[in-house]
């Protein structure tokens, strides 16, 4: 299919541009940018909200463009895109820029890109393409093992950087497909038992004390009150201090007095929580909920299995980001550096989220324009 460049096609595509997703992405990125403005005020990160606005603008443009580009043609080229992505990860390992211990950045002319953020969507597209010849019910275990194999290489390269957080965001791509196909309970039970057994053995016989300590701190940050524990503790205080209605824009003491660490990136959501309170949290959570709901709805509309797989995987990735980040800042889940879509500052992740939404919009568009 050609790009819809004729006036009529454009008309149609505009009509079929999913208004719900467009609304959500505009609202969320606006709220995120405002929060960044407040979080960065008076610190070295004062100008971050401006840069994020630029990324949002670029992302919006890329999303609109991609929403007009037939995803099936994109899927057909996904092998070469996949290989390009792997090459990108390899290049990063060689000439990458190290930020807070992870060699995951390509810096060129003042612009930094994090290939691993894009690769998760590339892998999803490639996996969707490979599995797309079969319907969800037609998936065999071997299909899934094969897809897992495709995931192995990029995850391995990302772990080499090392960036555990990003590597983990690759996992939902696979986890949801067995559910989509339908899974027998015995496999679930067997999986849980196997995991337990394996981890018990590894814990008792393979890990050194400092490694155990590191994992325990990951699970329970309060073991390390000066490091990660301090961050989570301050974050919880910020959230709680927000109360029901919040302290108001730019009025959170935790935020403005810098008690809240990494507040423009991983912990930006606690700034939102402190300034907007529980009411603000409910609004943000509702927006994210509708986002996931809508993506899964489009998965159902999709005219091809590729579209369905992509949407379900995308919902998984979005959901994973939302769950881990929002859970982490509240101390309910282990601390790990995973960005919150449209809130956390970051060019690569923001651009990648927009691009993914562009593909989903095209899937929606294709379904409507059939």
């Amino acid at each position: 299919m050609n790009l819809p460049m004729t006036p009529g096609a454009l008309n149609k595509s505009t009509r079929n541009l999913d208004p719900v997703l467009l609304f959500l992405v505009l609202v969320l990125s606006t709220l995120g940018t405002l929060t960044l403005y407040s979080a960065g005020k008076g610190t070295a990160h004062q100008a971050l909200w401006l840069r994020q606005s630029v990324w949002n603008g670029l992302g919006l443009l890329a999303m609109l463009l991609l929403s007009r580009f037939d995803y099936r043609r994109l899927a057909q080229s996904s092998l070469s895109i996949y290989i390009t992505g792997l090459l990108g990860l390899l290049v990063v390992l060689v000439i990458g820029h190290t930020v807070s211990g992870s060699k995951s950045w390509l810096t060129w002319g003042g612009i930094s890109l994090q290939p691993s953020e894009f690769v998760k969507w590339i892998v999803l597209l490639f996996v969707a393409h490979r599995l797309g010849t079969k319907s969800p019910e037609g998936l065999t275990n071997w299909d899934l093992v094969g897809a897992a194999g495709l995931l192995f290489f990029p995850m391995f390269l990302v772990l080499k950087q090392p960036d555990l957080g990003v590597a983990m965001t690759y996992s939902p791509i696979l986890l949801l497909f067995p559910l989509l196909r339908g899974i027998r309970w015995r496999w679930v039970v067997a999986g849980v038992l196997g995991f337990t057994l394996l981890s018990t053995v590894v814990w008792n016989y393979k890990l050194k004390t400092y490694q155990k300590e590191r994992i325990l701190t990951f699970i329970d940050p309060s073991r390390d009150l000066k490091g990660k524990g301090y961050q989570v503790n301050q974050s919880r205080i910020a959230i709680g201090a927000g109360g029901l209605w919040g302290k108001g824009f730019m009025s959170g003491s935790q935020t403005q007095l810098n008690f809240l660490p990494v507040k423009t990136t991983d912990f930006v959501f606690s700034v939102w929580a402190e300034e907007r309170g529980f009411v603000g949290i409910l609004i943000a959570l509702a927006l994210f909920g509708v986002l996931l709901h809508r993506i899964l709805a489009i998965a159902g509309e999709a005219t091809t299995a590729i579209g369905t797989y992509f949407c379900v995987g995308a919902a998984g990735i979005f959901g994973f980001h939302i769950l881990i980040n929002i859970g982490m800042v509240s101390g309910a889940l282990p601390t790990t550096g995973i960005p919150l879509p449209f809130f956390t500052y970051g060019g690569s992740s923001t651009l990648a989220f927009f691009l993914a939404l562009g593909i989903i919009m095209n899937i929606h568009h294709q379904a409507k324009s059939r």
Binding site: E137, A241, G289, G319
Partner: protein, 638 residues
Amino acid sequence: MDLRQRNLLRKRLATLQAAAWLMVLGLGLVYAWLQVVRRSELQQLALSQAVKVRTTPAPRGIIFDRNGHRLVDNRRALHLVIQQEDLPKEASQVESLAQALEQDPAQLARRVQMARSAGMKRSLIVQDNLDDSGLARAENLRARFPFLSIEVAPRRVYQGDELAAHVLGYVGEVNPQLMSKEPGRYQLGEIVGRSGFEAARNDLLKGQDGQRKSLVDHLGREVALYGLENSTPGQSVYLTLDSGLQKTMQDAFGEERGAGVVIDLRDGGILALYSSPSFDPNAFLGHMSQEDVDLYVRNPTQPMLDRATQGLYPPGSTYKLLIALCALEKGIISPESTFTCHGRKTYYGREFRCDGVHGTLNLVQAIARSCDVYFYELGARLDVDEIHATAAKYGLTELTQVDLPNELPSRIPSRDWKARHGRKEKKWYAGETISVAIGQGQNGVTPIALARFYAMLGAKGKVLTPHLLYGQRDESGQMKIIPPQKPRDAGLDPKVWAVLDEGLYEVVRSGTAHKSALPGVTMCGKTGTSQVTTFVDKAHYRTLAKQFRDNALFAGYAPRENPQIAWAVVVENAGFGADAAAPIARKLCQYWFLDRLKKPLPPPGGKLPDAFEEPQSDEAEQDQEPAAPPKPQADGAR
């Protein structure tokens, strides 16, 4: 995709949608827990780490003498401190800090522990009064121990060093003993008066501490002022002391030990009070050097003891005035009664000696020449309880109520007293009254009590309350006089008084103290020489070690025509009162009546306020003895 499959897919996607909403709900519950249920607790935490409350210590009141000369001033001092919230938790930190400061680690650890457990609102001072090099060292220490900070605080400066140490006292951090004595009155770390007037009127001088609430960032840097309660400085006060007279007394004592008190006869104000040896209160403000500890605290001459209010001395012959007063009032003698002195006399089988052979004398002569035999005779005719009752009537048995801490009561023996305090014997023997009559035996008076007794004589029977607080400084910086306590009229018969006055005048004119007579000033007084050890003959006396020699006393008032001041001077182990104590009193009178008016101290505010010339309100006038101008004496000196 057939219809059945699409339906199945829709069902499974719906399940996933439900899972997504379940996830959102779960997260919502977590936030509800933090933002609704635990809200106030976490808000409190946020507030407590962002808002720091620090006490700003109020400067204590400045202390002036009666002429407005500063005796105690405030300066700014820099202390190396640990703020309450920065108190180190690890013992190793405290230990290495103590090592770096060359302090006892156990003691520092105890102070840190105490500061934490007591919830001290002030910072803990680890090193005080930093000088330039100390400040440089402190800055280096701060790099190693980030919990340290440097604080500016008002600091006391005692002008004149040792000049009025026992009057002023000194200040220091409140100690646990003081805190347990009056629970709830003091805060840990508070600077309070520890002795002297600073302690006696701590309430007046200390002021109200302020509070500074500030918003701090995560590094503890102050970002904004959150709330400020200014401290109210303590009340600045004027003492009745005259620093010129005080200095005269200090110089007159020199190296001698003892104490002297000069009282203003109109209102009981203390014009000078000195205890020798003295100490430098400035040495007690912070950490004391070993040198100062040895000099002041471990010194056997006890420089810290205020001999003027806490030294009990046998009054010796100065006591004879009480005996004379008692005998006259009881009608045992008349002013004309005579006794004959042969240098010695035996009572109850024991021989009592006199300093000389005085022949036949009347009371005035007996006082002037300090004849012991005359007073033995009175002692033989009086009962000890009668003497005690007279002493009580004229205020010698009670505390003088001077505004200084820890005043000791004088010891005026009686039957009852011996029954309660006698060591072996509880019964009073008549022979003891003979010794009592010349101020020996069990008698013990404080210099201030003795001065008040002579002030009573000078004031014709008015029992004054000696005091140091003269006035306070009002908003405009002027002195507002605080009305002194009204004197009690003990009802001294003017005829009796005239005889005593005559006797005291003769002491200086022709009697034992004639060498100390001051041309132009009619001094009245009584010498005293009180035995420290058992009597030995005069030839042997010169060979005695100094600490076994007699105490010299001289108490009196001047000028006779219109008494203005009264005094008592005690010089320890100095020999005869006439030789050692009377010359000091002479110097005091020389300064007060002659030099002060000719060579006044540089006036503080352009005018030298004279205690005797100051115009006072009518009401205040009535409270006091009518004051006549002192000029005639001053002029008469030439």
